[in-house]
């Protein structure tokens, strides 16, 4: 009896999956323009994915069609992991046969997806991948954001000129290409402006106990701490640092730009300053205001960096499809690469070899809220 029960369940399982599988295939309308979306919906940077997806959906509501055809967004979670990102892109390109891809969000994940789209000749727009290596020598990768050599330079300039410091300690997340790259650019520029790096220590994404790293930095007595990591680790680090008497200002990159930073960090992150690509107060374009209003109406809060850049990736893609007057991926890619003076949510976007030339925004955490400080132009 038990064996038959087992066999029945087994067959039910197979049947269920086959049915689910067939449904998803049959009902995928073939006349739509299929856009694959690879975001980190779970995992260590899940907040990035959640915000980006929200922004993307608002953008789609504002512009649901291109060339008169409906746009179909197919979302695959890459779990914040580079191997899963490659799997996701493989599936979207070869199984769902998408015409373009938006995402992944973090540089390491984009890198593992690159060989696949280059081979298949499918355009990829990353909203927030900032590492310069992503587009070097590549034809099909573009981005909606600035690149880290610029971001690191801005941070160094801000530290020396606005914060008036001469020494810094750097905390690097050795698991992320983003962190390693940005730290390098900051260090180069900081030294060029006469600054000195007095301590360098490493963490890893997912770690929660930073007492060893804090103990390493304390005796070096830096004036600021530069931590180009992600919001989760920054928040936990800030808490523990304050508990152990390490009270210097923490300067970070756009990886800090998430509400979760304040929720987890609490009072410890007041005063934390970071470079990023977007602030609601800095919106100048018409589409930007429209997006802000629609986002606020739908989610009852202001859009953040990730939502805005995801929206811009979408708008850029639609614009490119309209200009290319075709849904052929190669033609779309050419049009994307030719984007000039495009009015996006985050400002005026012009792509040079896939990289966006845009101003950077400095934001600060004050009284547990993000506050816009200033914009710095390239």
């Amino acid at each position: 009896m038990k064996r038959t029960l087992f066999k029945t369940v087994f067959l039910a399982f197979l049947a269920l999956s086959t049915v689910g599988f067939s449904i998803s295939k049959v009902f995928a309308a073939s006349n739509d323009i299929k856009v694959g979306v690879v975001f980190s919906m779970t995992g260590p940077v899940a907040s990035f994915g959640q915000s980006s997806w929200q922004g993307l959906q608002v953008a789609k509501e504002i512009m649901p069609t291109a060339l008169g055809k409906k746009i179909d967004l197919i979302l695959v979670d890459d779990q914040g992991d580079k191997v899963q990102a490659a799997n996701a892109v493989n599936k979207l390109v070869y199984d769902n046969k998408v015409d373009a891809i938006i995402g992944p969000l973090i540089s390491g994940n984009v890198m593992s997806a690159t060989p696949i789209v280059e081979k298949a000749k499918i355009p990829l727009i990353t909203p927030t991948g900032t590492n310069p290596l992503l587009t070097q020598g590549k034809k099909y990768i573009s981005r909606a954001c600035f690149i880290d050599p610029f971001q690191g330079k801005v941070a160094a300039i801000y530290a020396i000129k606005n914060l008036h410091v001469k020494t810094a300690a750097i905390v690097i997340d050795s698991a992320q290409d983003y962190s390693v790259g940005l730290a390098k650019f900051f260090e180069e520029n900081f030294k060029k402006l006469g600054g000195k790096i007095v301590a360098k220590t490493f963490i890893q994404t997912g770690e929660s106990n930073f007492s060893a790293q804090i103990a390493a930095i304390k005796p070096a007595n830096p004036q600021i701490i530069y931590m180009p990591c992600y919001y989760q680790e920054i928040a936990l680090f800030a808490r523990q640092a304050r508990e152990f008497g390490l009270n210097q200002t923490i300067l970070a990159g756009d990886g800090a730009d998430e509400e979760a930073l304040i929720k987890v960090g609490g009072k410890a992150v007041n005063g934390l300053t970071f470079t990023t690509g977007f602030a609601p107060e800095a919106i100048k374009t018409a589409i930007g205001k429209k997006f802000e209003a629609a986002y606020k109406a739908k989610y009852n809060k202001l859009p953040d960096n990730f939502a805005a850049l995801a929206a811009d990736s979408y708008f850029m893609l639609v614009n490119a499809i309209d200009r290319a007057k075709s849904d052929n991926p190669i033609k779309i890619n050419t049009a994307i690469r030719e984007t000039k003076n495009f009015q996006g949510v985050t400002g005026n976007i012009t792509l040079v070899n896939g990289d966006a030339i845009k101003p950077a925004v400095i934001k600060k955490v004050e009284n547990s809220k993000f506050v816009y400080a200033t914009s710095i132009n390239p």
């Binding site: 899940a46 060893a212 103990a215 928040a235 936990l236 008497g245 979760a260 929720k263």
Partner: protein, 297 residues
């Protein structure tokens, strides 16, 4: 240098007490059922989440939320045993282990689906707030409370085991389950009690852990769970006091390694398992040395 060592020592005792709380649950379950409950680390996670929801969704005062979370987690443990482990109690060890792994993955993914993969900020209870500063040594208040709570619970548990009817029944089952049931003891109820106690202790561990590292996510229990298990083996699997001692030894040595060899900081986790392997090779009965290996094939 001295202050650093002292500081690290205190960190170590605090971390060690957390491991101890979780290790006790492992060791008790192994003692009575001869199974390694891989899902135990995830029970820690369940406790943390329940406490979080008590405070944020139900607006309970922190003490009420914690107590409710601990009790409900204990019941979850009992449920887990009844549904997944009881039917195969007499099967081979392999089967029990595999089922435990299945339950572990199930819990992790259930919470992933229910509450999303975005980590949540754990609210810190007012009495745990703050840091004491003595001579350059920083003591987060919670680091002082943790060992005290762990010690108190350990003492209560040892009392139960040696002085109450059910406690003696538990130790009897650990020695010989068949004879115990022949003596007229309702083995099922005693085992459920074991799971209740073990899971509640894990919940306490989860709450204290989340107070120190206030970010909870569905996968948070995996590493602490594995390390607590290493601690239990280190102390002598099946022995409650041993589990506590093992936890402390593990917590302190981890921290001291990082303090003396900062470049090896990344290998801190590996250390726990290397220690485990060495113990299993040279003194499998652990620090407290009780021989519990019983052939069940």
């Amino acid at each position: 240098m001295l202050t650093t060592i002292l500081q690290q020592l205190i960190n170590g005792i605090s971390a060690g007490s957390l491991y101890a709380l979780v290790a006790i649950g492992y060791t008790m379950v192994y003692g009575v059922l001869r199974m390694i409950n891989f899902a135990h680390g995830d029970i820690l996670m369940v406790g943390a989440y329940l406490a979080f929801f008590g405070i944020s969704a139900f607006m309970l005062p922190w003490w009420a939320s914690f107590i409710t979370a601990i009790i409900i987690t204990g019941l979850v443990g009992v449920l887990m045993e009844r549904l997944a482990y009881k039917p195969i109690r007499n099967a081979s060890r392999v089967s029990l282990l595999i089922t435990a792994v299945g339950v572990s993955f199930f819990l992790e993914n259930l919470f992933l689906v229910l509450f999303g993969g975005v980590p949540k900020a754990f609210p810190i209870a007012p009495i745990f707030h703050g840091v004491l500063n003595y001579n350059q040594i920083y003591l987060p208040v919670v680091s002082i409370y943790t060992p005290i709570i762990a010690l108190a619970l350990l003492y209560m548990l040892l009392y139960i085991l040696h002085n109450t009817k059910y406690g003696i029944a538990m130790r009897s089952i650990a020695l010989d389950i068949d004879t115990t049931s022949l003596m007229g003891i309702n083995v099922d109820i005693v085992i459920s009690l074991v799971f209740f106690i073990g899971s509640s202790l894990a919940a306490v561990g989860g709450i204290l852990w989340s107070t120190q590292y206030p970010s909870i996510n569905p996968l948070m229990g995996i590493m602490p769970g594995l390390k607590a298990f290493a601690a239990a083996v280190l102390g002598g699997i099946g022995d409650v006091a041993g589990a506590a001692i093992g936890g402390l030894v593990l917590g302190i040595s981890e921290v001291l390694i990082v303090a003396f060899f900062p470049s090896l900081a990344g290998y801190k986790d590996a250390f726990a398992f290397l220690l485990l392997i060495l113990v299993l090779l040279f003194k499998p009965t652990g620090i407290m040395g009780k021989e519990l290996e019983r052939k069940r094939f």
